[in-house]
Amino acid sequence: MTELAWIDAAITSARPQAVGALLRYFRDLDTAEEAFQDACLRALKTWPVNGPPRDPAAWLIMVGRNAGIDGTRRRAKQTTLPDEAALSDIEDAETPLAERLDGADNRDDVLRLLFICCHPDLPPTQQIALALRIVSGLSVKQIARAFLVGESAMEQRITRAKARVAGAGVPFETPGPVERAERVAAVAAMIYLLFNEGYSAGGQQDDRARLADEAIRLARLLLRLFQTEPEIMGLTALLLLQHSRASARFDAAGEIVLMDDQDRALWDRRLIAEGLALVDKAMRHRRPGPYQIQAAIAALHARAARAEDTDWAGIAALYGALERQTPSPVITLNRAVAVSKTDGPQAALDLIAPLEARLAGYFHFHGVRGALLKQLGQDAAARTAFNQAIALANTPAEAAHIRMHLDQLQAGGVG
């Protein structure tokens, strides 16, 4: 690995801790980011000459803090009214940095940085964009490409999100246990959204697929901060297990390959092993939550060497447990798919019949219903359901998949 690549990796991994500490110090996101940028520029100059520091994050915080103070002083001189209060505030804060770096402070710094991206006023896409910019350090250009929008539009979106967050007031006090748990939950939800952005994109588009990697990186970061939280183990496991199938989920033409038909040799065994290890760890706590249950479902799929070895009864039971924790018609729909494997398509249709009103606008409802009707040989009804699904498809790949079902019905020559 080249020296530059090593420095890049060191800066990327130090970023959440360093920007988090600088944010606590300067209490302003833009100042913290600028200070971090300054520190990175200096790192690129001095690390190749003096060798990398023992603790890159501490180095970047120290240098960034000094750069930020210089910047504040410069600006204070340029403006006609120097902000004395802000300056003395900074002087007061100059306690030895080393002792503030470890333990709880570091944890709350990173959590705060993640948490301010999850402001409830921000729509999910803005939360994700902000996290990618601030926590992951992706460039606006990279984020714009990932979201398939123009660079200036993304720049605006991020600027607006930052303004809203700044206006809302960043919570700087050390959180109590309840508040900390709420922050962790909000951050976990944001990481899950980020993963789904990448996951739904599929195999071909590199910029979007990168979002899934980034989500896994943030989940591991959150888990390192909260090592004993079974739900964060579950979240990380869930992302690893879902992502392990990335290469198998789409065929060469970019069309969806359902799990039953996937080439399991393409599943990433390394990600599966780590996911299963985390599920094991989480189960020991006997405090199941939605992420853990979803991870356990993904684990049952991952453990099956062939599709026909899948423990569908176990999966149906886990969906049942998930329904009890977070009742939702979409979960019932998923349980119905598992039930169709153990009790047949009619049992599954009976299960989803009451969902029709609530899921009438949901692509997967009509897709599943069509597939069940097709299995029962009710081709005309199946065709109607598939046509409803096509009208609601979110991506060309989804539409193409339904069209394949319709073609098979036609090939059967019935109706």
Binding site: M1, A9, S13, Q227, T228, A273, L276, A277, K281, R284
Partner: protein, 121 residues
Amino acid sequence: MLYAILCYNAEDVVMSWSQEEDDAVMAQLNVTHERLTAEGKLGPSLRLMPTTAATTLVKSQDLVIDGPYAETKEQLLGFYILDISGLEEGLEIARELGKANPGGAYELRPLRLFLPGASIG
């Protein structure tokens, strides 16, 4: 003589490598791995999963802790490689070993990569 080489590095930096960077490092290492294996000098080598996947058994209190063994007053004195069903079986085995050898702790860390190498010793 039999020797072990223990590998230390900043985990979050290594975990930030892209797949291509990771592959490039492994490809370079493999040149040496293969030569040493052919010479009959290299036995098993392995890469551990990140510390987030670790669980620690503190032997004296029979206390199971999430995460790696973090105390610095004890030193790494040895390790086992096991092929087992999962964490529960691993903890059972660790408890049994702990009865014969009390004190200190066992950290259970799943492997990310295992290369059997040559038959040595």
